[in-house]
């Protein structure tokens, strides 16, 4: 099991710590604010209040033994850089850090951060994409040319089988999974639905209105498919 440290427990750090814990990871959460430490203390493995710019304090809690440290201090750029440098010097294998400006990101990259994240910018791009093309639920860019997208079944394809839809022939993209929502009645008698995944669907599988397709392919083909 990989061990993580999350330094800075603002909205971003809190979200990272919570998600990692929910996925069964061991999480050491650190912040200088007592209240923030208290907020996460009931779910993370260890929660410690300390000044993360203090190398001795970090050493004392055993930060050098974590596999990945996530530095989610954006506002105080100086502290963010200092903490990253300290972590690298202490031999932390992988450091992920949050940046608030491009220059901040550049400095973090230059001092050896494995992954720099710009949560606000990334979320802005995601929202803008979803507003521009409302039926795109999720998009992961694999490279500048290839992506994986999650999209609803276009109206002109609903009711056809995968092979009849011609998605692969017409757009050069592969359907890697289909998510179906199956209506049901719960034990308490409420109508609800369960989500069923069909990974690597067969050519004769039928696509229905409301199904979600996970597609992999060149951006050009995906864009054509999005436009219908």
């Amino acid at each position: 099991m990989r061990k993580f440290a999350v330094i800075g427990l603002g909205r971003f750090g809190y979200g990272v710590a919570k998600t990692l814990t929910e996925k069964g990871c061991e999480v050491l959460a650190i912040d200088s604010d007592e209240e923030k430490v208290k907020d996460v203390s009931n779910f993370v493995t260890h929660a410690v209040q300390l000044d993360a710019t203090d190398e001795d304090a970090l050493h004392h809690v055993g930060i050098q033994y974590v596999d990945v440290a996530v530095v989610s201090i954006g506002e105080n750029i100086e502290a963010s850089i200092l903490i990253v440098m300290t972590l690298k010097e202490m031999g932390v294998k992988e450091v992920v850090a949050k940046a608030v400006t491009p220059i901040h990101g550049k400095v973090l990259r230059n001092i050896g951060v494995s992954k720099v994240v710009f949560p606000e910018r990334d979320m802005a791009i995601k929202i803008a994409n979803s507003l521009a093309v409302p039926n795109i639920l999720e998009q992961i860019e694999l490279s500048s040319e290839y992506s994986i997208i999650e999209t609803t079944v276009p109206e002109n394809i609903a009711g056809r089988t995968l092979i009849e839809s011609g998605i692969r022939d017409r757009f050069g993209v592969n359907v890697i999974a289909v998510k179906k929502r199956v209506p049901t009645i719960t034990e308490s008698g409420e109508p609800d639905f369960v989500e069923e995944w069909n990974v690597s669907p067969m050519p004769e599988d039928r696509l229905e209105e409301g199904d979600v397709l996970v597609l992999l392919g060149p951006n050009e083909g995906l864009n054509k498919l999005k436009k219908g």
Binding site: T152, T184, F193, E209
Partner: protein, 100 residues
Amino acid sequence: MVKKEENDFNQKQADRKAKVKDLIEMGEFYFINQKWDNAIEVLGKAQKMEPNNPDVYYNLGIVYEMKNYLEEAKHMFEKALKIKPDHECSKKHLNKLVGT
């Protein structure tokens, strides 16, 4: 005379409630059978007859969610929770949709 009017009024209210219950059941039937547009139609009628029934909004919410009309679905779950803040099913679905 006043008593009779009161009885008539109560009777009408009871009839209306029974009719809304029937429409919700019909909506659930269409939902289970994946007839989304029929479900929206009957639940829309129920909504007009009883605009303060959280179950009507919850049912409309899940139908919209099935159709991937996520904004409409969110709006319906929010309406259900405004009327009944502890409507657990609406809470569960809205939590899932927030952030999509």
